[in-house]
Symmetry: C2
Subunit: 438 residues, 2 copies
């Protein structure tokens, strides 16, 4: 198996200024290509520290994917570091200068002189075009520190995520395919909301243990649990065993018949697609529409829905009824109901859902009202008390959540549960099912 290191460069990754989303993206692309990422390293914008990480990779990795440090400013030092690690000088790439000049001209701006630095690439490196930014990337071979010959393909990409992603897909992945023979690694993902990781493990592990006895490929499968509240993913991956034996796609798919029922009613689907994608697709298949009424989630349910391309066909809109006055004015909730029960209560959640369905003219509406904290909790209704209701022509379903954690987590978990409640209702109505969607 091709082994890789991911090297992300930038003080901002170590100082907490930036969350390292590039690492996750590059890791996913490698996994899908059958490349085994054994280690990820983040270093500061210092030549010596970048060089040390590159030399370490050259000692054991076939591939080192690098992002960051290609910009125009004085703290962008990746090209210099790769030149040192390769034992070559920086050479100004005139093609890169021309592309950059043209890009600034297109936007009607003069190119600042400091941008020219971005065209200084390690001698012998291949330039990687950046159609949506000024910093070109480059690819080179790092010498093995012990032997001196070419050892590790290093591909340097910008730190700006959208530029890195496009360069990875268009420039780097084809080079990797040319350089290495890559096998396919299959995996199966079971997606659950409503059951903890330990409880799931207790149910799943005997099933996997039995499966391991069936074939050498299944014996080698790797079992992961990925918990990000409220969701737990169970991932069964066909990683190769000691003699290269690995589970086939068919062997993994056959596990569905045992694993999915064992996780009911928490499991909502199998495969890569997330809950929002599945929900939007299921609504579209049935010609049904959805609306939202959000208090404590403040727009997050709408954001989850509208994050799915094409959601406009089924998600018509919503009301963010943060203040009670909006619940009354736009959703038609009776002020007396709020006075009698409080804004966070079953009757108000139900009235918000029913009111949203009327006000928005949708087939389904989901409402969320709760106490996200840090203030606003009482003994009877502590922070984390959240009521969710789903309204459709056949009735209104309701659930009270009792959540823990900080404000942002409570808001996120509540928004995910709102989608799960709609999904569960669609299953109850026979409009969708727990299936495979990648």
């Amino acid at each position: 198996m091709v082994s890789a290191q991911i090297l992300t460069v930038g003080d901002e990754l170590l100082s907490g200024d930036t969350v390292n989303s590039n690492l996750a993206y590059l890791g996913e692309r490698c996994r899908r290509a059958g490349i085994s990422v054994l280690r990820a390293v983040s270093v500061r914008d210092r030549v010596g520290e970048i060089v040390a990480a590159l030399r370490d990779a050259a000692g054991w990795a076939d591939l080192c994917l690098v992002s960051g440090g290609l910009g125009p400013t004085s703290d962008d030092l990746t090209a210099e570091a790769v030149a040192v690690a390769c034992g070559v000088d920086l050479v100004r790439n005139e093609e890169a200068v021309a592309v950059m000049t043209e890009m600034f001209a297109k936007f009607g701006r003069p190119m600042p002189d400091i941008n020219r630095k971005q065209a200084d690439l390690p001698g012998g490196a291949d330039m990687l075009a950046n159609p949506i930014g000024t910093a070109p990337g480059f690819a080179a071979w790092l010498p093995d520190p012990a032997e001196g010959g070419r050892r590790c393909l290093v591909a340097c990409m910008p730190g700006v995520p959208r530029e890195m992603r496009r360069m990875m897909a268009e420039q780097v992945e084809p080079r990797i395919q040319r350089a290495f023979a890559l096998p396919a690694v299959f995996r199966r993902i079971y997606r659950a909301i409503g059951r903890g990781e330990s409880a799931i493990a207790v149910d799943i592990e005997p099933i996997i243990a039995a499966a391991r006895t069936r074939s050498p490929g299944l014996a080698a499968v790797y079992l992961h649990y990925r918990a990000a509240a409220p969701q737990v993913l169970v991932i069964v991956e066909g990683t190769p065993g000691p003699n290269g034996e690995r589970a086939t796609a068919e062997e993994l798919a056959a596990l569905d018949r045992e694993i999915a029922p064992a996780l009911q009613p928490a499991v909502y689907g199998i495969g890569e697609a997330d809950l929002a994608e599945r929900l939007i697709a299921a609504l579209a298949r049935n010609g049904q529409t959805l609306g939202t009424a959000e208090s404590c989630t403040g727009g997050r349910v709408g954001a989850l829905c509208t994050g799915v391309p094409g959601s406009s066909a089924v998600y018509l809109g919503g009301v963010i009824a943060y203040h009670n006055y909006i619940k009354v004015r736009l959703l038609g909730v009776d002020q007396g109901l709020i006075d009698a029960n409080g804004a966070v209560s079953e009757p108000v959640a139900r009235a918000m859902a029913d009111g949203a369905r009327r006000a928005l003219g949708t087939d389904f509406a989901v409402a969320v009202t709760g106490i996200a904290g840090p203030g606003g909790g009482t003994e009877e209704k502590p922070v984390g008390t959240v009521d969710v209701a789903v309204s459709d022509a056949g009735g209104t379903t309701y659930k009270r959540l009792k959540l823990f954690g900080e404000r942002a987590l409570i808001q996120h978990v509540s928004a995910m549960w709102a989608l799960k409640m709609v999904w569960d209702r669609m299953i109850e109505l026979g409009l969708t099912e727990v299936g495979v969607q990648d």
Copy 2:
């Protein structure tokens, strides 16, 4: 300066299943404590790979912060790896078993047997209590690989972010303070929306160059740019020079008088507080309220506002008018205006903002309508065309954005610009100013 490695453990970090937010959190806590994080490493859930990363840290770091791999399942191996690196055995910690048993009892659930494994800690390690999860952490001293004596404090925390954060604050940071003498590192952050990183650098670098001549402390400052569209942060940090000289808080604060004006009108504030926090605080100071009308952002402006604790005092709510029918029905936009100009147009954006202010009864309302893609673009209005309008009693301001990138980016950038437009209008009305807020 105390030097640290952050070690995050878990296949999910390398396979792209999880974005490594723990790294950013731990990096920020270290920066604020004056600890210099020189390197961050992520490895898979394999004993040998965790041990190698621990031994590497023991060779150069004073501190190694570890998160992940403390759970109950078979792929949780951090305690075993630390035991190997320390040359000790795992020992069942009966206090940890008792705490765990009690926690399960509190939730009325029997403790699965596999959870006991979480109480097996490296011999001689201190248990770190986890009041909100079942996995305790632990702290130990790694021996220097060359000398054998104690060298590097290693603190192992759970991978679940909320559990890790609380353990870091309550258990780990006090231990670090006891173990090391930590100096204060000051920094100044200038926050801008509406100007690119290169253009900002051209304006800023001469100011910093001149400042460096003023004192040895200022000569040593470290200048960062952190770009996350649409925002660029300029960070001037008092990192120590070769002889330990560092800029004082007062020296850094004095830079405001030059840097803030040089970045106008893009800069909205100085300090840690983000735009949403400042906007909510400014509205509250003035007793003003805000509402939202969102089409392409689908709730993200509301989510940004309601992410701020206490926002309920000023953010009353909004309408997610994703379908045109909702724009007409709930915001009172004239259907003829949409037919004549299209939903993404200046007249419709203005009508949405004015309509939202009326419908929601707020002092300010901001409206966003645009084409987030990937579909829906035309030659005249390509994907990324977004209209933003702000309505208040004094009038309605408007701006057309021309954005690039994928759907999620366009939605995020548009939502941030919506807040910036309200902020700019409040500045124009004399209701707020560009100030320091941490």
